[in-house]
């Protein structure tokens, strides 16, 4: 059985699954329940000067029959008095001494930072997470993402915290920034021990088209919220990769953004995270999802032969490079498995209207389309729209002997440089005569 316990910048946790600072960590009751269910750590709902919240607070993006594919909130930090939160932190630590309890903090002045850091540590917090990410409400008051977007300010505040902190300091970064590594480097320069990312993305999840207002609605008005849930995972993974690959960052990373099962967690770990934080999935399904995540991770590690989280951490990073380093001689084309094909012809119309007209319809009475090999550029689109598992696969066609990148070709002076250059990649690619399009009036059905 692999060992899934972690030591994250000095914070020990029985497993890498933490609850992100959010509504599920609003109280000792919830965190006790989560630890009891199997979660390894929890980042307490951000402590500070208590706020006043609005009603309603959440909005959702549903994709067809999938609820909350994306989720946004306009809730602020804790609205509970500090002393209540501190007392509950103490209580949780008493019952769960080996679990990670991290206090998320957000205040304004150096004095406030000093005070709240000491209070949190005295209550028994194993670490501190500085909330420089909240992109709604708090940023209007100069906190949250307003700090995260100014690397110099961020650095300064981290250094204030480090003046008094004895426990590890995690800096939570906002994605609402051009280059997240600027903020990550500032966190390191300020003395931060780790970073966590991403916080939510500024968003409007939808518009009430009957009442002309965005969601969520507060008495006929709305404001931008912070976006999270499965929809943001690709953005989070990219920012994680950027921070993990950057030589000047070099800090442990807690990955956040759309994680809801073991596989999501593995992807974050392979891109350099050593713990993961979850919120939306718990808000959707409850703490019980942990019972799918832990055995899934353990099973994966066993199958791959990983003994510890550290052994798998960042495994995929070395294979993510700049576009200019990709092999231009690698050629794949699509192949349709006739026995699996159900004849929906979605691959046909996707390629026909959305790609390279490389799929034809059979006239032999079957509905199995065929690949026009000379037109296929190996883009994957057909295999992505195909509703049948492993029906369309991409088959390698080059001999694997040549490996020439854009960078190589640039250095060899072998790239197109003029508008009508003979070296244009699509010069000899088949493109139908535009006028033939008008003869096809069957847009979807014959």
């Amino acid at each position: 059985m692999p060992d899934i316990s972690v030591n994250f910048a000095g914070i020990r946790s029985p497993n890498p699954f933490w609850l992100a600072s959010a509504p599920p960590t609003n109280s000792g009751y919830q965190i006790m329940k989560a630890f009891d269910a199997g979660w390894g750590g929890a980042v307490w709902k951000t402590l500070g000067v208590p706020i006043v919240n609005v009603s309603s607070r959440y909005g959702s993006v549903n994709y067809r029959n999938t609820r909350m594919m994306g989720f946004n909130n306009i809730e602020l930090i804790t609205d509970r008095p500090l002393k209540d939160n501190l007392r509950e932190i103490e209580e949780v630590k008493k019952y769960f001494p080996d679990h990670a309890v991290i206090a998320s903090l957000m205040v304004e002045t150096r004095e406030q930072w000093h005070q709240i850091v000491k209070d949190a540590e005295n209550a028994g917090a194993d670490g501190l997470e500085l909330n420089f990410g909240c992109p709604h409400g708090m940023c209007e008051r100069g906190m949250g993402s307003a700090v995260g977007q100014e690397p110099e300010v961020l650095k300064l505040i981290v250094s204030w915290v480090k003046e008094v902190a004895t426990k590890p300091v995690i800096v939570k970064l906002t994605p609402n920034i051009s280059d997240i590594t600027d903020a990550a480097i500032a966190a390191r320069q300020g003395g931060g021990d780790a970073i966590s990312l991403i916080n939510t993305i500024q968003s409007i999840v939808g518009v009430d088209i009957d009442n002309f207002v965005a969601y969520p609605v507060v008495d006929g008005k709305s404001t931008n919220g912070g976006y999270c849930g499965p929809a943001v995972k690709p953005i989070a993974l990219n920012m994680l990769k950027n921070c993990a690959q950057h030589p000047d960052v070099n800090l442990p990373i807690s990955g956040i953004g759309g994680i809801e099962n073991w596989k999501d967690a593995v992807e974050f770990i392979l891109l350099g995270a050593s713990t993961v934080q979850v919120c939306t999935a718990v808000m959707h399904y409850g703490f019980g999802i942990i019972r799918e995540m832990i055995p899934g991770l353990e099973n994966y590690m066993t199958e791959k032969g990983f003994n510890t989280i550290d052994e798998m951490k960042g495994k995929a990073l070395r294979n993510i490079t700049n576009w200019e380093n990709l092999n231009l001689d690698y050629k794949i084309i699509a192949e349709i498995n006739k026995d699996k094909c159900i004849g929906c012809e979605l691959c046909y119309i996707a390629c026909e209207d959305g790609a390279h007209q490389a799929i034809g319809l059979s006239d032999n009475g079957t509905r199995v389309p065929y690949i026009i090999e000379e037109n296929c550029v190996g883009c994957n689109l057909c295999s992505l729209v195909c509703p049948v598992e492993s029906c369309i696969t991409m088959i390698r066609k080059d001999d694997g002997k040549k490996y020439e990148t854009w960078k190589d070709r640039t250095e060899a002076g072998n790239i197109p440089v003029t508008f009508n250059d003979e070296l244009a990649g699509g010069l000899h690619h088949f493109v139908p005569d535009p006028l033939t399009a008008l003869k096809k009036n069957n847009h979807g059905y014959k």
Binding site: R64, N65, I342, G343, G444
Partner: protein, 443 residues
């Protein structure tokens, strides 16, 4: 043994005849519509006689445009709601759904179709505006699926459409013939009211056109005449005992049941003669009316029966027992039916051969004969030039649905020999187009 007890009131009747395709709620419709793949050149559309753009109406349900969805359906099929409930979707759209090829449950197209149209009907959504009057009038004989569909299409083109219906209610077999567990009379009639509100055709009930003078009057008063009468009475079997009490024609029995419901008396032991869909319905309905034993007797083998397999399954699930390769020789009894004398048969080169010496009598107290319907013979003597083919179908040209008498057009069971509501709806629309072409060329 039948699982049903005799219904004694309307609610018990409804329970025994529980809808097999109940109306979806909006949550069901949302989730089901989410599953549609939006196929290119979708096979479901090709499998629909009225060629409804099914992926489109399902996508419109999913995107919250129910009005648009209903319009998509009604533009192709004026019996949109009824067809969603009564169509043999297993062998049409749903049977063609590509999901079947991976053994994934096909999309419930029929139920989605009824869902989409039910809102338009219940909210009386105005989807259609009849065409500007062109001053021409068309008489339509029969307010069934063919007649009503033809009337709707004619109204869209600006014709006056006047329907003459022999019975008291519109929709033809939808009310008088379709099994009660497929659609309720209220559902069928609500759609008819909706269509009349939308298209403004005129219907005269209890105004059958039978006599020569009636036809002459129509020819004089109208620019064209559409015949949508459907088929005639149940064919009589050429055996003795047909006149005994408690021996009924299936079509007549079903019509009686549809109108009088739990008040119809059904025997304790019923024998249904026939192997088509009407026989299945009659057998299934007898069982649901609480008959202790229902035997479906067919002179050919199970494999040779004309009924859809799912219809036979439905009858069996209601408790009906199939008896194949038995041919009725005589219906026995003094005044009332007491049994049916059969002889066993085998099929040779498609012909039914009686096996000598195998006669036996199966006791029963009711016989339902479901051996096809007769053609509308009286038309021959009343309308000049028209003819029936060897199978008893009124002959029309396949494009315009015009009879050899140019003033007469026709569609529905009378030209097909008995098909589904959806076929009548599809053909009658084409017939209306044929009428339009004919009258435009004439003037």
């Amino acid at each position: 043994m039948s699982d049903y007890t005799k219904p004694t009131n309307e609610s018990e009747f409804e329970k025994n005849f529980e809808q097999i395709k109940p109306l979806m709620n909006s949550t069901q419709a949302y989730y089901e519509s989410s599953r549609c793949l939006f196929c290119y050149d979708a096979p479901c559309v090709n499998a629909c006689p009225t060629r409804i753009d099914i992926p489109l109406f399902i996508r419109q349900i999913n995107s919250g445009n129910l009005t648009g969805s209903a319009k998509t359906i009604y533009e192709s099929n004026y019996f949109g709601y009824a067809c969603g409930k009564v169509c043999p979707t297993d062998v049409l759209c749903e049977g063609a759904c590509v999901y079947n090829l991976q053994e994934v449950k096909p999309i419930e197209i029929g139920r989605l179709q009824s869902f989409a149209t039910s809102t338009a009907i219940s909210e009386s959504k105005k989807l259609f505006i009849p065409g500007k009057s062109n001053g021409k009038k068309v008489a339509i004989i029969g307010a069934g699926p063919a007649g009503i569909s033809c009337a709707c299409e004619l109204r869209m083109m600006g014709y006056d459409a006047v329907i003459f219906e022999a019975r008291e209610k519109p929709s033809g077999l939808t009310v008088y013939g379709v099994a009660p567990y497929k659609i309720t009379n209220k559902e069928a009639l609500d759609e008819m009211d909706y269509l009349q509100g939308q298209f403004g055709f005129e219907i005269h009930f209890e105004s059958g056109i039978y006599k020569k003078e009636d036809f002459i009057r129509l020819e004089k008063e109208f620019d064209a005449v559409f015949i949508g009468t459907g088929l005639g009475k149940t064919n009589s079997l050429n055996i003795s005992g047909m006149n005994l009490e408690n021996c009924f024609g299936a079509v007549e029995f079903i019509a009686e049941l549809k109108i009088h419901q739990h008040n119809v008396k059904v025997g304790n032991k019923v024998i249904v003669l026939g192997g088509g869909n009407t026989a299945m319905d009659a057998a299934s309905e007898s069982a649901r009316m609480g008959a202790e034993k229902v035997i479906l007797a067919y002179r050919r083998s199970n494999e040779e029966k004309g009924a859809y397999e799912f219809e036979y399954d439905l009858a069996k699930s209601a408790g009906v027992k199939g008896m194949f390769n038995v041919s009725p020789v005589e219906i026995t009894g003094k005044d009332k039916v007491e049994g049916v004398k059969f002889i066993r048969t085998r099929t040779e080169n498609g012909k039914v051969i009686n096996i000598i010496g195998t006669e036996f009598t199966e006791p029963c107290d009711m016989v339902i004969v479901a051996t096809g319907q007769s053609k509308q013979e009286e038309l021959l003597s009343n309308v000049s030039g028209i003819k029936f083919d060897l199978k008893g179908r009124l002959v029309v040209d396949p494009e315009n649905y015009q009879t050899p008498n140019p003033k007469y057009f026709s569609a529905g069971d009378i030209i097909s020999g008995g098909q589904e509501v959806v076929n009548a709806a599809a053909d009658a629309k084409k017939a209306a187009r044929g009428i339009d072409r004919y009258l435009k060329n004439k003037s």
